[in-house]
Amino acid sequence: MIDPTEFWLLAPEIFLAVAAMLLLVAGSIGRGVRNRPAAAVALLSLVATALLVLWAYGKGGSSEAFLAGMFVLDSYALFLKLLLLIATGLTVTISGRFLEEGGYRPGEYYSLILFAATGMLFMVSGYSLLSIWISLELMALSSYILAGYFKRERKSNEAALKYFILGALSSGVLLYGISLLYGATGTVHVGELAARLGDLVSTGEQPILIAVGWLLLAIGLYFKVAAAPFHVWTPDVYVGAPTPVTAFLASASKIASFAILIRILFEALPALKADWQLITALVACISMIWGNLAALTQDNVKRMLAYSSIGHAGYILIGVLCASEEGLWAVLFYLLAYAFITLGAFGTVIILEQREYAGETYSDYAGLARRSPFLAASMLVFMVALTGIPPTGGFFGKFYLFAAAVEAGWIWVALVGVLTSAISLFFYFGIVVQMYLKPSEDTTPRPMPAVGLASTIAICAIVTVLLGLVPGPLVELAKASLIPLP
């Protein structure tokens, strides 16, 4: 039986859900709310939720699961929740222009973002496969709707349809895996699952159910983090979805999916460590190679960023497969750095892009340095960071990941990582060349970013550089946010 006072520790999630509902109802009455106030309410509630997260952690943070073993509030969850709230907040600030120009209702848009964030918060704290799965579905469902939010544009519609179909298939696969693991162990609680699996593996019972079960579960999760060869949905969805939503999918949604991937592999399947390390290594290498090679041939910047995001899923998986302390904090560090870099890069894309696909190609960046030195400089920072060159957070992120891999004995994976990073130089610097070396076309108007958008890009660029100059504090923070190793 659950002690009702435990619900106080859910205050952040409950608050965020209530805020989303208020925004929803307010946005539906009469002509609805306007963009600015709606964004302000969404931002304020995200800040308040972050404060509540800190409060709840101070009140009852521990690595013990509660609410009948459904929910855990450990330092790992704390770190990721704050990161997710930051990423969601930055998504809110880059969304305004799109909504105003498209004439879509902002109330529903922001409330769907907040609902997705609620699902993510529950995901990182989930300690039962049932609660993890249902909150994953909450996030996914909100994301499907957001991807199709610009329903007057055919590409947004098709992106939503594709995302929905492959997303639903991947949750089906994931669920099938969960059902087989349940059949082998009789539980869906993460801690109990680990214990029973340990017994079963040592006595050699139910090998088939366990093997097929964890493999399907892992494939479902690789799907969600967009790792190759389970990435088929990513390029089309990233290109077709409204760009702020793409930024949201590439940052917050990816972080939350990685959070549950790590939670499940580390805490539920430690008995199968050797198996999942190998598979994860393969997936990581395929993602890095495929993502970076495919990005070479793109001339649409959004599509390039989509393939780059597949490659980066591979880099992050390197840290996961190490199953070591160094690997885990390197992943947390990288997730944070990557969130700022991605959101900044997509923010820049938003400023340049116009209707349909206009403004998304490499040649649209020609001479940007003269048209808008600020935009060009920030895009330069993001491209440098994505390549992994100092002095940016991207450099230290990759450096820590590769170092962890070498230390854990996965030298060949680290080698693939270094080589593919070298390849990535070509397509990231393709944009830089366009911006700084190609002459500007006079016909293109000088982009005038809105205040919210410009300040978001500035913040992202500053944080990216800061992380490259003084990574120490964040490393300490990440080191304090680990979960038990398998």
Binding site: I134, I145, K151, A168, L169, G172, S179
Partner: protein, 103 residues
């Protein structure tokens, strides 16, 4: 002689349904059929859960199945919504073309 049904029977049946559903999702081009195939996949999961629940005499499987059904309902609602939005767009573009021809 007495025929008996074991959990393995259920597992095999669910594997068959899962395979049919997955194939339907991957290769059919009719989007409504694809959405129906998704329901097949979720149903195959439920068969597993119920069979294991009986095998282990543990109710968790049944409760999980109830949640799966609830989620399937929500997903169907949104999936069909996306489909309808797309159809409407196709029809509208059709109309646009028609008016262009007249003007």
């Amino acid at each position: 002689m007495m025929l008996e049904i074991t959990t393995t029977h259920y597992l095999l049946l669910s594997a068959v349904l899962f395979a049919i559903g997955a194939a339907g999702i991957l290769v059919r081009r009719n989007m409504i059929t694809v959405l129906m195939s998704i329901e097949l996949v979720l149903n195959s999961v439920n068969l597993n859960l119920i069979a294991f629940s009986y095998q282990l005499s543990d109710l968790t499987g049944q409760i999980f199945a109830v949640f799966t059904i609830a989620v399937a309902a929500g997903e169907a609602a949104v999936g069909l919504g996306i489909l309808i939005a797309l159809f409407r767009l196709l029809d509208d573009t059709h109309l646009d073309k028609a008016t262009e021809l007249h003007g």
